[in-house]
Symmetry: D2
Subunit: 336 residues, 4 copies
Amino acid sequence: MFIVVNGNKNSKEVIELMNWLKARNLSIQINEGTQKTVLGLIGDTSAVDIDSIASFKVVDTVKRIQEPYKKANRKFHPDDTVVDVGGKKIGGGNFQIIAGPCSVESEEQICMVAQSVAKSGAGLIRGGAFKPRTSPYAFQGLFGKGVDLLKEAREKSGLPIVTEIMSDEDIHLFEDVDLIQVGARNMQNFSLLKELGKLDKPVLIKRGLANTIEELLMSAEYVLAGGNDKVILCERGIRTFETSTRNTLDISAIPVIKKLSHLPVVVDPSHASGKADLVEPLALAAIAAGADGLMIEVHNDPIHALSDGAQSLTCEEFAALMPKLTALKSFMNTLK
Amino acid sequence: MFIVVNGNKNSKEVIELMNWLKARNLSIQINEGTQKTVLGLIGDTSAVDIDSIASFKVVDTVKRIQEPYKKANRKFHPDDTVVDVGGKKIGGGNFQIIAGPCSVESEEQICMVAQSVAKSGAGLIRGGAFKPRTSPYAFQGLFGKGVDLLKEAREKSGLPIVTEIMSDEDIHLFEDVDLIQVGARNMQNFSLLKELGKLDKPVLIKRGLANTIEELLMSAEYVLAGGNDKVILCERGIRTFETSTRNTLDISAIPVIKKLSHLPVVVDPSHASGKADLVEPLALAAIAAGADGLMIEVHNDPIHALSDGAQSLTCEEFAALMPKLTALKSFMNTLK
Amino acid sequence: MFIVVNGNKNSKEVIELMNWLKARNLSIQINEGTQKTVLGLIGDTSAVDIDSIASFKVVDTVKRIQEPYKKANRKFHPDDTVVDVGGKKIGGGNFQIIAGPCSVESEEQICMVAQSVAKSGAGLIRGGAFKPRTSPYAFQGLFGKGVDLLKEAREKSGLPIVTEIMSDEDIHLFEDVDLIQVGARNMQNFSLLKELGKLDKPVLIKRGLANTIEELLMSAEYVLAGGNDKVILCERGIRTFETSTRNTLDISAIPVIKKLSHLPVVVDPSHASGKADLVEPLALAAIAAGADGLMIEVHNDPIHALSDGAQSLTCEEFAALMPKLTALKSFMNTLK
Amino acid sequence: MFIVVNGNKNSKEVIELMNWLKARNLSIQINEGTQKTVLGLIGDTSAVDIDSIASFKVVDTVKRIQEPYKKANRKFHPDDTVVDVGGKKIGGGNFQIIAGPCSVESEEQICMVAQSVAKSGAGLIRGGAFKPRTSPYAFQGLFGKGVDLLKEAREKSGLPIVTEIMSDEDIHLFEDVDLIQVGARNMQNFSLLKELGKLDKPVLIKRGLANTIEELLMSAEYVLAGGNDKVILCERGIRTFETSTRNTLDISAIPVIKKLSHLPVVVDPSHASGKADLVEPLALAAIAAGADGLMIEVHNDPIHALSDGAQSLTCEEFAALMPKLTALKSFMNTLK
């Protein structure tokens, strides 16, 4: 960490700051420039609060050199993490497609979709039982019953299940879920992340609409720091000024995250675009950019879906898309 | 609500859509244009899911005319809401300044700050007991003990207390808190909002970093729809490309919200800017733009604060600022 | 176009608005709702100024149904436009890679790079002679001499040349340039666009950092409306809150533009990411998403480049990348 | 400037970088940390290209300590710049209101508005003769004739005139204009800025929709570096995800710029909001935050305006607003 101060090393304010730093077991290298002095901190700065340093009035700029995450950092864990979700591996060259409806609506619906996407080659089935909806008047999900229906779908299709948790109070309902999803709106629900860190169960964390890649890795760090190392990250679009898509898929996040971290990265082209006809080009782009998996919304009857129908593929559309995705993935493996 | 479709009223796809709409008790006015047909929906569309309509492939565009919020809507509640927080009124011409440290750190600290800001004329004391921190290695707050210390500070200063809740699991600890704050990162933690809707206690909802004004009003609607009508909104900066401030204060949000809604709006210049020296100009601007209150970070010893010191005023700086704020507020009252 | 008004059709204000509309040769369909009236306009609304309508105080919302661009609109020109640049075709299934340094620095440099990228399989050579630089103290380009050196490079490599124009005053220097580039910062330099519309020469328009896809198409419309139909669009990243990349590549822009317009779309992964090591994954993603070409910075000696070295590939890196790009493009052709 | 490198000072790559730096007359202080080495550069780094340094593969991060602008920098020019525009002073405690229509439409219109706003107390009259319009089919202005009409309005009203230039080719038409405006879309039209730097005439530079405050100051630096020190800056809203206003007024830009630079800052609440009813609260907020002036759209007949009517005040509304603005400005002077 480097601190630029407006003053020389003998000024009262700079000495005060240096004493504060030394009290935190950091040693200091001093560089006096023409206008400013720069203090280089040596030691473990990951727990040092950058804001506290900035609050010293003599400080002009503080800059972290080390990344603030450790367990999520590829530097300290060079090998790719492989997460096993109910027998399906994700990461380290293992690629999976997670498919299913936005919401679990009925036994018939979820079992039908699960069997269909399984037949098409999906590796996991997804479906929302607890639904984060902007409006209190919109369909909020089937809650515990939705989770039970997913388990039935798992039995019928043979696919592990993925579903979203919205509150740490509900965690007991997710004991038998294969992959617990933290939604974009809860990416910085730190109470929830801490609870998930206590589990021995795969967790998928979606990037928040206004969150940086570093913040996503810090949210992963919450789960990892708690002792749960089964974390998968998901890029699902960020919020920008562009309105022709629901969100803006940050395709660069895939290679950026894979350089910084060892954790698997999957991409959700359905939420990123909000439009069914954009799912194919974005899914292909994500594979070409190196994603470890995809999360695609599929509904047996999108026009009667209780949520997010506009971005759902039909089972037939998904069946037609799958061979393209797997062919491209195989092709990409030959390019390396 | 208006739906633009690519087809004429006699096409199979348009008829299918119209049947779906009629099944939801909506009547339809049809307008055929040169290239497209437009369907105008008549009836209560607030519970209609715009995404469901968009999922019909024949649909080109759907546009809501009515706002999706009702209880938060000024149209249906023309008079300003006044929220009474432990005897201090906010809204409808009543202006309050909420001051205090980012985090409650010790009995001495919070009581000292509370007494100081009370003396300077603040109306409420704030302090974080549960702290949402990007890093799991940063100070996370004193939890229940922090709430207890706030109560002591209330006793000593006579000021009602404001503190942030991070999980519905902790709600029992907030029974004796005067104003419960929902932080920016939890603005769309709908589980939490639903629980707060069941209380008879003032709730302050901070706008999320990437949330629109309409989404903020929808989060208020969650609490209001639950039966709790004591909601205060807080603008605290949004995330943009500009990096010279921590966030970008959306000053326009004040008059925009006050036009759309009857709820009080307070502004947090400390979090918006992230810099102590910007608090004064932003606080003055917020008053001039019509804010019902301010939330300002004040710490007895910012350079040793456990969080967010850079944006905190000292007690002395706050004491010097208060007369300017109250003078401007009085002056603004004469302008109308 | 639809206009929602706060009032009924017999009110003075609504009648005034309707008279204004009729004076512009538009006919009106009236729909009265429970709270508002909606006016549907029939006729050619592309020249109607949406702001003028919004300025009537009785107007609540105005919404355009027709796209505001005509010549760039795929609806009126269903077939892909193919632009021939010095014998190299772009669009309609024709794919080209444009490579070369950010700036033309010397005869030796540009000729060496041109010959090298030609050998690797690039279709066109790029190089900046007029450089838009944030700082007045940074290298500004070789101006006319740079253009002359590019022509030499064309002669030696056999590749058509691409270079950026910064002012309509310089247009005479571009007479013998094969493809004139309008940079991101000049995307809405309408004086320049109008002048380029008078030429019979290919123009590549880069999307501005804060410009929507619709605005990009409107800038293309300026050139097309002037009579020049040789327009190529370029996605090169937009500005968002994320700082780990120089810009955020909006990969969705490719399929979105190709749906809305018949014009070719190329992608610049170098400027989008600002980092040489991200060029490969983003270039592959762009091909998978359907781009008609790529624009890649290549420098013989990036560490001594006068501008943008950090994002430049060396000639050797480009030579190693080309086979992957062409292999993927060929593979994608088999997927359709 | 500080450079963090992945390697120690004796490695071949680091030595190569250090030689490159020394060749640019910079001396280097070396600090070896546990994982990285940090090089501190001493000397004038304002002309050093940060991208060139970043292109060395051994470089992890480069961080500028000195601001890249000099002539615009308050450090080197502590006193406020006062710009005299036709006898009206702006900056250094001098406050002016610039008012007038978006476009000059006719002699009658511009003279009528000029006389009206002069009577209300405006200091300058504005009006667009060259109009940057997103659509080639929209009204583009009266060009030279518009400038002539403005001069007539100046004669009749006694107010200096402000109008926008769109191309360096038109500069001869602006010889007798009092204040030349560079619009937001041309903020980085560096060819134009260079030409304006050669004049001895006040220039107002509007911040671009996606430009940082530092970039705005760098654009000012272009004009100042050319020898023209009569520069005024204008905050007019930036582009964000929020759609309830046309742009997001960055109110913090006022105090931030005034800290970094000595140049006057005016605010345009009309373009920032796009709505006439938001002009008053935003204008008041800008004054409270310390703006040196305001730029407000006023039209005699907004509903028949040829551009931007929605955000224009009528002459009567402006006349009613002026006393509030001047009263607040006077009040703010008493607060200091």
